[in-house]
Subunit: 754 residues, 2 copies
């Protein structure tokens, strides 16, 4: 039976899903609006032959939005920059990151992201959607806002760390689910990449949240285009709710695993190169900006950079296609390999819908006319290959790349040119001061080299359109596998990527080759560098604790079983007594910035032993409630029953009321000799955490690590055999670089003595 | 970079995947062979008008196989009975179950499962495939066999509990992947249902194992039918590698969520009813068999029961369809709702392939002739609705039920009749003494009531064949959603069921309604009863530890935070000293059956404090190595360096060499006063587990539970503030019924004193 609070949690999950889904819908529609206006207007100028006017319009339009997108971040909310994914991951791992979950960040992120993507920057909305989803999860569930200064009483029940964490996880999953229309993918992405703590109950609730998010965003996106109703509200239309829907999926063949593995290798290589170049680029940018003394100039550069990106991109989009010829639509009859005029069979209608959609992308080529001959549609229209890839939104390019039975639609030239442009422009653009993700651009890059490999295979073995043994040699299918391989080479996720690719394309038949490419890309990628998002965590100096320790000294993995907890622990430890003298306590809080303090209890034999743990925040609350002080030393309470605790549980959880800036001033009033509390004591019995873990000095370091990461501990007290406190291990002590230093010197000493 | 042993692990994962895939292929082919022979021969008799001969053949054939399937279990290997899933789950949770991973069990399971399913029992091969996969994972990775009495040296590296557990998990996942052709589904099923411990590395390796397993079984199944090559080896054929492939998937509509939720409710209700009835039936059978004194008679009954099932099933299959009329193939033209002759458009060919496949299932009806009229194919052939569901293998029935654009293919009568037959026959058959799973039968049951609801909707709102707003009202789609709902109502899995359903049917468009039905079925089902597989664990008295505690007293959840570790711990504890007197040690081992003993160390002040833990198996090994005994008391070693341990690590891990039956005799030699070891002592310093956890008496019971389940501990020592052992918590102390007893009496005492 479901208890009351459980029901409330489910309702809240549904609410978060709905809100994130709606946000995804609005985001999508605004981006579509901005994007369509840009390309259609530019196309009009080109049709009129005014190429330079078209370029000027295109550049100015894009620049305006790009500068606006950067301005929101640079001048207003810097915390909304980037994708936000590393920060959310770090938070869910147990690290406090300032300012990432407030309403202003959400608004800034939304504005910056829509403007930047709408104007055509080579970035994607998925990272920001994840961050926005997380903010919604945090905001909705807590029912509190510093900005509007309110706290709703109903949400009191969710104001604890665990529920907050769970709702944020749900928001993350809903973000992916709404952005990709991939509910299962969202769930798995959250589980595999973002979340550090997981349970079956949470899995179900997030599952539900993802259903609602995807349904909401798909439903509205199916019914509206640029906010205008396109009729039949309620019906989900394939082309609108499956982002890159594949028609005419081909059956696979065992031979297909060979090119899939090759794509996996390429994915691992290019993915690592992407990660390394991105990090180099970001460090270079940081150094350059740091070397400039004038803050005005720094701001200007940060605003100008996206504008520059857009000028370059606009020039590429408009002038580069002109270097390529307009070519006829071609179609391979199944019985021969000759290239004929573009032919569309009226009954199967394979290309019909795509043809209509593509009208905007003819660039400067002649659209020609269509005519019927019997049941067959012929067309003498021409198209520009590169324009199909560059002179349109990324989504359109993706659909074209994934198109089946279109073996020679793109040739090597345009594919290579776009691959190089996308690869480097994404690295450049994603690091600029706008809210930007890289998931969709990654798919484009992968699809480009996937299609190149497909074309190589077609050139080697010919075109096979009939449903024969060789129909698997379809460049469109390899484009899809290529996307998965690059995604995997960069992000190193397994079931999440597979699910997302399937849900994006509705092509389940290609599942096994996709999985093969993913696992090969992971192998190759792991050989060269970290996963992208983990590299970002390191770049931002976030103390992220991996599930498994990974300490490498002299290029060898260090076996942590050979070390003990005492080797890595920090000491001496600042401890507090069960009944503590108020000024001494205040002085201890002033003297250091520790967050957890072991509580000691005096045994009859005079030894002071470990008894529990209390946090700085709890101690602050106790000091704020001066009525619990009592003069003179006294014996602690015997009973821990909550009925008799003078400070309520909710006060304790809420934390100190004083602002953090004045904590020092607040504490100093107690250490003053003239303070009225000079002889007062405070009893911690009702408040400290009696279930704090402790381990012995000899405890294996490997197991200590597992303990901290599996249970999400922040403090682990190390005691000796008689239970006296010897040291403390926190997550900072377990960071890679710190372990390498400490254990390295221990190893040197050990080998010295041997 | 991947270290050496890591590479070996990947290779082993691939090997397990290949072996399980091959096994799945062979299983599938044999079942197909047995099944096709049965139905085609019976059909021949029916065609000749010899109905009673047909019935006799069908019954005798089925009975022979059913008795054979049961005989393998009853007379040879009882451990191979049932699905094996609960036992594997229990093992991975940390419970030792005898005999489940040996080669004979594998052979028995394989024979029993193929015979029983081939002859048409209403059971599925998936449960047994999971168990067989697990056995392969365990067997291949350990490279050892008691039966053939060998141990391969290469596999030494994998002979530790963690690797063994991981390879078994991989085998489980590969089993699902091979049985359903669902690699992602297999991975998620293993993660959600079977495995208790999971890591990202394991996830990747299982992902790889699943690719290999699915590729292998799909590849061979695509190329062979009943072990005869069907040409084009290497090409994966949709109809052979996607079990219930759906053609012409329909776009969904927001209104579709209403019937999906209704199906969810039905799934929860019927799923709970199924679970409860199955348990009742199993208990009844146990009681009946227990009341019979003659073991011969018990064996006979256990052999006769499957035979009886098959007689009943054969009668239903042959005679029941005769009670229904042969009806014309019907087809709704899109412009009207009138029923016309069966028409097939030659260019779209929607029914063509299905029509050909169905020829065997016309039962006693006239197959008629097909004729062309222009581009339209007409046919005056008739078919028997019930025969399509009962007079064929379950797989054929499923394909028919999932068929799209076949609105009135089945009417209420046949659907209701088959639903009732399947529902009760599955409950009966799955509990008999054969190796049987229930996954595919569950899908059939769900598809039947799903199709009934679809028919109700069609009757209310008419047939909509054109791709309009109303095309979602397709009974075939609701059959699919129904399957998912029943699956979820019984098994309560989220992403696993969703993935399996998608991979089984290749219909991604219906994803959101499927997810809705799954989550609603879970809600409704949870209200009534446990998930099926957890109920089975309870039925078999396996001490399975859930991730989250769930203790209910007087229909209320008990908040474990209000209790302490001391409330539930077992005491007094049998402890051993760091240097122990050999006869005393042997006596301790003889006096109890505990598996873990806290090791005490004497402090300078004379207190004996907790210092670590040693297991019975380790103590046995120490006693077997008599050369480590030393006379007289002495001080323990100071250094724990492994170099100086006289017994090697591998000996310790391998466990005692003496057989378990003679342990008592072995130990008694030491307690004899005349034993040469009477004054000898043994030093445990190099061998005990120094990293054993301990918690204080006041530690919260909830956190103690989390600690044990999250870290998979078997023993948790409870100590007081001065680190002296007070008690011990093992998983048996945390079982639901035990907690209810202990905490219930504590609660009574507490309320008495208030």
């Amino acid at each position: 039976m479901i208890s009351n609070i459980e029901t409330d949690r489910w309702i809240m999950m549904g609410l978060i899903g709905f809100a994130v889904g709606l946000l995804g819908f609005i985001l999508h529609q605004i981006i579509e609006r901005i994007s369509v206006l840009k390309w259609s207007t530019t196309k009009e100028y080109l049709d009129e032959g005014k190429v330079s006017v078209g370029w000027m319009f295109c550049s100015a339009y894009s620049m305006a939005f790009a500068v606006f997108a950067a301005a929101v971040i640079v001048l207003w909310k810097p915390s909304a920059g980037g994708s936000g994914l590393p920060e959310v991951t770090a938070f869910l791992n147990g690290t406090h990151v300032n300012n990432i979950f407030n309403l202003k960040t959400l608004v800034a992120k939304f504005i910056s992201c829509t403007a930047a993507i709408g104007c055509g920057m080579p970035i994607g909305p998925e990272g920001p959607m994840i961050h926005m989803g997380a903010i919604m999860g945090a905001g909705l569930s807590q029912g509190t806002s510093d900005l509007f200064n309110f706290k709703l009483p109903f949400f009191e029940r969710f104001r604890n760390p665990e529920d907050r964490r769970n709702f944020i996880s749900a928001g993350v999953a809903a973000g992916v689910a709404a952005a990709f229309g991939a509910p299962v993918g969202g769930l798995l992405f959250c589980m595999e990449e973002v979340s550090s703590f997981w349970s079956n109950t949470l899995s179900w609730q997030i599952f539900f949240c993802c259903i609602i998010a995807t349904s909401t965003s798909d439903l509205f996106n199916s019914s509206f285009q640029e906010f205008k109703s396109i009729g039949s509200f309620g019906a989900f239309q394939t082309s609108r709710y499956i982002l890159f829907n594949v028609y005419d999926a081909v059956d696979i063949n065992i031979l297909m695993f060979i090119p899939s593995a090759i794509l996996g290798v390429l994915g691992g290589l290019l993915g690592s190169a992407f990660t390394i170049l991105y990090l180099k680029m970001t460090r270079l940018r940081k150094r350059c900006l740091a070397s400039i003394s004038s803050p005005r100039l720094v701001q200007f550069i940060r605003l100008a950079e996206p504008a520059l990106v857009m000028i370059v991109m606009s020039s590429f989009s408009i002038f580069l296609p002109m270097a390529f010829k307009c070519i006829n639509y071609t179609c391979m009859p199944s019985d021969s390999n000759t290239v004929s005029e573009f032919c569309v069979n009226d009954t199967t209608n394979k290309y019909d819908s795509q043809l209509r959609e593509k009208e905007e992308t003819f660039h400067t080529c002649d659209t020609g006319t269509n005519y019927m001959n019997g049941t067959t549609l012929f067309s003498n229209s021409t198209y520009n290959e590169l324009a199909l890839l560059l002179f349109s939104s990324k989504d359109e390019a993706m659909k074209n790349l994934y198109l089946r039975n279109s073996h020679r639609m793109f040739n090597y030239g345009p594919l290579f040119v776009s691959l190089i442009i996308y690869f480097f422009m994404v690295i450049w653009a994603a690091g600029t001061s706008v809210a930007a993700g890289i998931l969709v651009p990654m798919l484009v890059i992968g699809a480009l080299y996937g299609r190149i490999l497909g074309l190589v295979i077609v050139d080697m073995f010919g075109v096979h359109l009939d449903e024969s043994y060789w129909s698997w040699m379809d460049p469109g299918a390899f484009a899809l596998i290529g996307s998965a391989s690059f995604f995997a080479g960069v992000a190193r996720l397994a079931p999440a990527i597979t699910s997302i690719m399937m849900e994006l394309t509705n092509d389940l038949k290609v599942l096994l080759p996709v999985m093969t490419a993913v696992v090969v890309a992971k192998w190759v990628g792991d050989y060269f560098t970290h996963p992208f998002f983990h590299a970002l965590l390191e770049l931002q100096c976030i103390p992220f604790l991996n599930q498994q320790p990974n300490v490498r000294i002299d290029k060898k993995n260090v076996q942590l079983e050979l070390f003990s907890a005492a080797d890595i622990m920090a000491f001496p430890v600042v401890t507090v007594n069960l009944v503590e003298h108020v000024p001494t306590l205040a002085q201890k809080l002033l003297d250091n910035t520790h967050n957890g303090f072991p509580v000691l209890r005096e045994l009859p034999d005079g030894n002071c032993v470990f008894h529990g743990l209390i946090t700085r925040s709890e101690l602050m609350v106790m000091l704020e409630n001066k009525d619990i002080f009592k003069p003179g030393p006294f014996t602690p309470l015997d009973d821990r029953s909550l009925d008799i605790a003078p400070i309520g549980y909710d006060c304790m959880v809420r934390g100190p009321q004083e602002k953090e800036e004045i904590h020092e001033m607040f504490l100093e009033q107690f250490v003053d000799r003239d303070s009225p509390f000079w002889n007062h004591y405070v009893d911690m019995t009702p408040y400290f955490n009696i279930s704090a873990m402790s381990i012995s000095c000899n405890f294996s370091l490997h197991r200590a690590y597992t303990l901290i990461s599996a249970l999400g501990l922040r403090h682990l007290t190390v005691v000796d055999d008689s239970n006296q406190v010897q040291g403390m291990i926190t997550r900072k002590d377990l960071m890679g670089f710190h372990m390498v230093d400490t254990l390295g010197s221990i190893m040197e000493t050990r080998s010295y003595f041997r």
